[in-house]
Amino acid sequence: MTTSIDTYRNDLLLALRLRDVPGPRIAEVLAEVESHASDTGEDPRESFGAPRVYAEQVASALGLAGRAGVHGWLLALTGEPGLLGLLSLLGGWLLPQGLFHLGAGTTGPAGVPALGMVALGALLWAWVYRRLSRQLREAPDRVWDPRTGADMAPPVPRWATAVMVGVPAFGLVACYALGLGAR
């Protein structure tokens, strides 16, 4: 299986972040991988191994902790995990519930307008998404490409987008399924 250089680079960036490798060093490592892949034409996974394993080797060579702790995961995801998690859950509940009631032409719990639920849910999700995106892109030590000066951090990982879209979508489908089943 071949791995595109972009996919490998993004996975490696996250793995290095989780091991508290400083941004400038991450940029050097990513640029080295790109340069080496360009010189050899090899699949980066073939030359460097799995991103997680290579990140451990780099961290170890630099005398940093080899494994990502809970702190690293939370730091990589959000600066305020509790608040963002709560708002994310609330938005994920409001949005599909509101859409369900909007489709059914009914009001939500305690007479809350369906459109209001949708708007509030969407607002919460947009805020959490923006916050998460900023957290990943504007860390104190950003990952600037040593060759071009460009930002090497991806906007938001695909899995994060999938979760943020998938959870409300699943909730919406579940609401309709439960609603149909109750009729």
């Binding site: 640029a31 394993v53 060579a61």
Partner: protein
């Protein structure tokens, strides 16, 4: 031509010194170091093994590096040995010679007995 395969632990013990020696010969970049090691008969070293070694030598102040534009690719990182690096190479080479000489001395009689 088939490449001779050395035990991993042997290569691990001497790789840093060999990399330092290759870079001390003249400014060079990662893939060229791999090619030099292969030509010297040490086998093919993977990028995932080499670059952490280069990073460690750089952090120790034994190597200096700079990025330069490539002819067609995304640019290369060139390494050069620092004054400290050349001193370390000399010291470590002397130690390595002593070590291999002693190990060789230990193995000689056993080879003769066989």
């Amino acid at each position: 031509m088939d490449e001779e395969r050395w035990p991993t632990e042997w290569l691990r013990g001497v790789l840093e010194l060999c990399v330092l020696a290759v870079v001390a010969e003249g400014e060079t970049y990662g893939y060229a170091v791999i090619a030099s090691l292969r030509e010297a008969g040490l086998g093919t070293v993977k990028g995932g093994t080499l670059y952490p070694v280069l990073a460690r030598l750089e952090v120790e102040g034994l190597l200096a590096s700079s990025w330069r534009d490539g002819d067609s690719g995304p640019g290369r990182k060139y390494y050069a040995a620092t004054h400290l690096g050349r001193q370390a190479l000399q010291d470590r080479t002397d130690s390595w010679r002593t070590f291999t000489s002693r190990a060789g001395g230990l193995l000689e009689p056993r080879t003769a007995d066989a």
